[in-house]
């Protein structure tokens, strides 16, 4: 299972089709992957697991989310005022 994710991360080309978000509006796709990356990081550091496993979410949100959105959210995250549920 760990090996599958590692090879998936290594062979990353672009965000694959996500059936949770099949339609034209991909805003939630970008948002949820950003949230998933941070909650994965938080959970892994709490349990002492391997944080590099969370890289998949990072790759996906980096592919999908506009740079300005990511920068704005990163600033909120750094300030601790990020509105998402992590």
């Amino acid at each position: 299972m760990g090996e599958d994710i590692k090879s998936k991360i290594k062979e990353y080309q672009t965000a694959p089709f996500d059936s949770h978000f099949p339609n034209q509006n991909q805003t939630r796709n970008c948002w949820h992957n950003y949230l998933d990356f941070h909650s994965c990081e938080k959970a892994m550091t709490a349990k002492g697991g391997d944080v590099s496993m969370c890289k998949w979410y990072r790759h996906v949100y980096k592919s999908l989310c506009p740079i300005s959105w990511v920068l704005a959210w990163d600033d909120l995250w750094a300030e601790g005022t990020f509105p998402g549920k992590i």
């Binding site: 694959p16 089709f17 999908l64 740079i67």
Partner: protein, 201 residues
């Protein structure tokens, strides 16, 4: 130039053929109607009593229904074709601004650049007015590319007629469209949603 631009993507090709098919139907109906009007206007015959015309009324109810079905079926086919699930090999984001587009290629490393229209005074001979830009978007051909379109300020619309694409750029929303260029070349488009004084520029 008469008609739509040459198709670069398979969807645009389908749209071209559909357009030809529908336009032909429209021309046929219009010429039939014009002919009948000219017949009506150039006769001295009159008929003043009530007319019973069940047969022709049935014909000119059923026939338009059939014609409409003949138009709707290819239309729906293309509509569903545009919505097919495909796994893209590349994602390119484009953000609309007043009054330029910025492009981001972030699958591997962050690459982004702005693309301004070249003002008319600075055009070199042979360049197309209101279409040329300083930094062009380079895309691989024969690969499914996911385009994610959004805006940083007001509504814009990213359109490339040759690829059959037009998607609105809405601030706070990420609109997805799929692109597949089947031949190499240079394709132009203009902003298709009014966005201020330099709209389409």
């Amino acid at each position: 130039q008469l008609g739509l631009q040459d198709a670069t993507s398979p969807i645009m090709e389908e749209l071209l053929h559909f357009h030809d098919h529908t336009l032909m139907i429209v021309f046929l109906i219009s010429s039939l109607v014009l002919y009948i009007i000219s017949l009506m206007l150039t006769t001295k015959l009159t008929h003043t009593s009530t007319m019973d015309a069940q047969e022709v009324e049935t014909v000119w109810t059923i026939l338009p229904a059939i014609i409409l079905i003949l138009i709707a079926l290819p239309s729906l086919r293309i509509l569903y074709m545009m919505d097919e699930i495909n796994n893209p090999s590349l994602t390119v984001k484009t953000m609309g601004h007043q009054w330029y587009w910025s492009y981001e290629y972030t699958d591997y490393e962050d690459l982004n650049f702005d693309s301004y229209m070249i003002p008319t005074q600075e055009l070199k001979p042979g360049e197309l007015r209101l279409l040329e830009v300083d930094n062009r978007v380079i895309l691989p051909m024969e690969m499914t590319v996911r385009m994610l379109i959004s805006s940083e300020d007001v509504l814009h619309s990213w359109a490339v007629p040759s690829l059959g694409l037009k998607t609105d750029a809405i601030p706070g929303r990420l609109n997805q469209t799929t692109l597949m260029a089947m031949r190499p070349g240079l394709y132009y488009g203009q902003c298709s949603e009014i966005c201020g004084s330099n709209h389409s520029f």
